[in-house]
Symmetry: C2
Subunit: 202 residues, 2 copies
DNA sequence: CTTTTTAGATGACGATCGTCATCGTATTGC
DNA sequence: GCAATACGATGACGATCGTCATCTAAAAAG
């Protein structure tokens, strides 16, 4: 039963979106093609009319998820980003959360095309964050990039560490609370123009 | 062909060590029982004489890898730890590196017993790091714990982010270099007794 | 020494995996 | 309106998955 060209394109997008969520929840190896298509409301047959292989979909779903994270970050200053990122809500919502935090560990074991998507996604996220960092100068541009790189790694590490703990474990929440506080503190310190900073102890 | 009781115990330990390495390199789902036993020098048959299931071995291999990381960390002060942890050698040596960085993302999707092993491993690592942090007092004990939690999450995030980039990508090295410098700087700052710290710009 | 036990090898099981062949049907291009 | 096209459904393929049954021979128990 053939469908409209627009409908087919919409179905394809829906498959990618479903895959992006399922992969984040269960990992690339944790969900098969048949189950994935069923979750999107189809049978497994039509899969290869849309994608050349599962690896192809993995790359596309990763790119889609990374773009989503970048889009949601645009307009947020670093402190706002940290407040939302290093939170219990984000930790407990893998499927709807950051693709880097959910699949970064898996991406390291995947072929080059997927890692390339991740590097591009990270770069885009850095740009989005840096653009909301109030730094006009030229040497400040490099300092701002270093700051957002450091902050992103810090935030990603906090989420991954917290997620590796059993549900409800005190350590899981402790990691999140300690890291959020420290990251925000280092942001407040780094915001001043000179390294000799006053830290007004919010 | 039966073997000595001591030999069997040694074989079992060898299987666990092999599994710990292979899981770190390819993930829990990336290596099957048969391939794992072959890598250890056996056939798949004897597996269930040693372990009740693959999930059981996953938990045991995780605990083994985590203990190894803790053992290698004991005696290192936080700065020494960071120098070794946030390095290209560590990033490129998954199979021999930290289990938290290699499997932390996968552990989040595993049953509770594995996550419990990870939480215990993290706690032991925190204790080892905190014991080498020169802080005698009582309030300082809590501050030192917060410091090592933050430092560990920061370091883990740096490695995972760098590993998600393609081999040889400039961004991969940049992340490592920026984060190592920043983590060491925040250690130097946090070492002073009062939050109003002088930062001597090493 | 005899009997019992068990580590490990061999082989097979049902299930699931990614992928492909075939077909029907509804939408395109003419 | 007719012919060509292609989305999606159905079904099956070989391979691999975790697990178990059976067999063996040598170590442990008596």
């Amino acid at each position: 039963m053939r469908v409209t060209k627009a409908q087919a394109e919409q179905n394809r997008a829906h498959i990618v979106a479903t895959a992006s969520r399922l992969f984040r929840e269960r990992g690339y190896d944790g969900v098969g093609v048949a189950e994935l298509m069923a979750a999107a409301g189809f049978t497994h047959g039509g899969f290869y009319k849309h994608f050349r292989s599962k690896a192809d979909l993995m790359a596309e779903a990763s790119a889609s998820g990374l773009s989503q994270t970048v889009a949601r970050t645009e307009g947020l200053d670093p402190a706002e980003f940290v407040e939302r990122y290093v939170s219990r809500e984000h930790r407990d919502g893998r499927g709807d959360g950051c693709t880097i935090a959910a699949l970064g560990g898996d991406a390291a074991r995947q072929p080059a095309d997927i890692k390339t998507e991740f590097a591009a996604g990270i770069e885009n996220l850095l740009t989005a964050l840096q653009s909301q960092s109030d730094t006009p100068g030229d040497a400040d541009q490099r300092a701002a990039r270093m700051m957002v790189i450091d902050m992103l790694a810090h935030s990603v590490g906090a989420i991954m560490l917290s997620r590796a703990c059993p549900d409800g474990a005190p350590l899981a929440d402790e990691i999140l609370d300690v890291c959020r506080k420290e990251i925000l503190a280092s942001l407040a310190q780094g915001n001043s123009d000179q390294p000799a900073a006053r830290s007004p102890e919010t």
